[in-house]
Symmetry: C2
Subunit: 361 residues, 2 copies
Amino acid sequence: MSRQQVYNFSAGPSVMPESALESARRDLLDYRGGGISVMEMSHRSPAFQEIFDSTKAKLKAALQVPDSHEILFLQGGATLQFAAIPMNLMEGGTADYAVTGHFSNRAAGEAEKYGTVHIAASSAGTGYDRIPAQEELSLTEGAKYFYYCANNTIYGTEWQYVPETAAPLVCDMSSDILSRPVDVSRFGLIYAGAQKNMAPAGLTVLIVDRALAGRELPYTPQVMSYRTMIEADSMLNTPPCWCIYMLGLVLDWLETQGGVAGMEQLKRERARRVYEVLDNSRLYIPHAQPGSRSDMNVTFRTGDAELDAAFVKGAAARGLLNLKGHKVAGGMRASLYNAMPMEGVDALVEYMKEFEARHHV
Amino acid sequence: MSRQQVYNFSAGPSVMPESALESARRDLLDYRGGGISVMEMSHRSPAFQEIFDSTKAKLKAALQVPDSHEILFLQGGATLQFAAIPMNLMEGGTADYAVTGHFSNRAAGEAEKYGTVHIAASSAGTGYDRIPAQEELSLTEGAKYFYYCANNTIYGTEWQYVPETAAPLVCDMSSDILSRPVDVSRFGLIYAGAQKNMAPAGLTVLIVDRALAGRELPYTPQVMSYRTMIEADSMLNTPPCWCIYMLGLVLDWLETQGGVAGMEQLKRERARRVYEVLDNSRLYIPHAQPGSRSDMNVTFRTGDAELDAAFVKGAAARGLLNLKGHKVAGGMRASLYNAMPMEGVDALVEYMKEFEARHHV
């Protein structure tokens, strides 16, 4: 059965590789002849343990995670990590937060419950249209960690560098993990909600330096303690098995596409094609400043809310879905995650040009 | 494609209705002609909102949830609720816990971080082989709530009555929700990990009296606050969309089977057939005391660990899977959840009789 050709520009949950979905469908009722679905497997069964271990191994290989760091498969989304991170790492002290968008702002707000938050930088004043430069970062001596969000899904900005800090780096990579190589050894903690570049919603991947575990506040729930979850290899309780399985299938696909290096080439090219239209347009206004632009989420507007709505509606009519911007940002947003085929980008570019020709005279 | 005929007696994640899995497979790449998978849908999209709302409505109807109570679709499993419940309801005071098994014991241990735990009853002394009677419960005046676990998956005991208490009832129904009618209005809070009778692992269903919301401790993570999640209709952040979708499919199946009343008849009959073998056996020793026996998880042993292992191995060889008891209890366990067909029960009964005939002289 072939599906209607659409391109899904949703910011998350978002497009997944067709081959991963095909594999899931093929084995849905009967995984490898065992007679049961992955959804029916005990998480303690050898069959699921193999899925779990191989998925973890594939992720370790894809991101070249060093042995000093542990990979955890958790629940609760980035939003639970907004609290778990300070509970585990803040020790009631101070942490530096770079506030470059909606989610880093929420993370900073949540952390205030557990210690002192120092705003190391903020681009709120200009509508979160840029990423601060290294020399703009105000760093606290003795900070427990430095927190930032690598890619701001809503505003369409992305850090083009890894900050230099004395404190351990904690990074929310929800919307650009697996889209480029990362030197994991430079980070104390990397985490990501899976529902953009990895798997269906319901899985949070954490990569944490084992040296940072064991500092949790006394009232930290067991299942939120990094130390406890490391000791239990993420299975203190039942993990989100189906999402872990899907992550494994996505990583199989990623491997065939050249891994994260291949993804980076593709991501640069996808974004280049869309920004080129924006930069040559007399209709579209890109939101993010050059140098801060996200390759994953391209944000723009016409300056006329009715025209924006017409753009989104016309796009949907030709199968270009979910181009409406986030409600707090308005305008349009094209999310170009790993699984977005170049054909989808070209279809978008063609539509953008046509729409401009029709509406700008 | 028909799958190999096996019967999956796993305690969770566990057997799911075949019709639900068939629907999921049919629509996996293209949900209702929209061209995308449910796994790819934005949780803010009309298509997913419809899945969310209809699943909630079906659950409300199936359990006749009164308007005073809110249904929440959460992440983190029962284990996160072990902390969330006292964080939200204990107000630093005292709560009564009935400890009738492994998980209620862990819940009580976790609650000690947030207030005073009074053990209202415990069957630890006799290997958790029974449920206390109403008159055995030691209740604290002014307790913030009374906590119990309706069905003890590991030890195979199940409450046959709803306790009478002045304090609000908080009940872990992870392993017997939707298996019998429940008067929800008698409970302050019911919660359940989905991976037994409801959906794949990764979803926690909570049914909470709105009057109990808003008492959370100041350091409660946003996503764990019942008040916040009620206000956000479970969508403060991305919910576990696929699991919610699967729950909807399972509830469609449940409706065709006569709802929870139909499930109760089936559950009584499944359990009756297995306990009958145990009660007429000179080989098998049932673990739970009569009057406390679970219809969902039947636990037994031969008294000889090698023979137990032979039983489990021989069962697997004929497609009767996952009959090994939990590691903390040993012996055997047959989990007979809603989706277990009566044919599976009969195949188990036949095997039990044959095995006894071969091994007991």
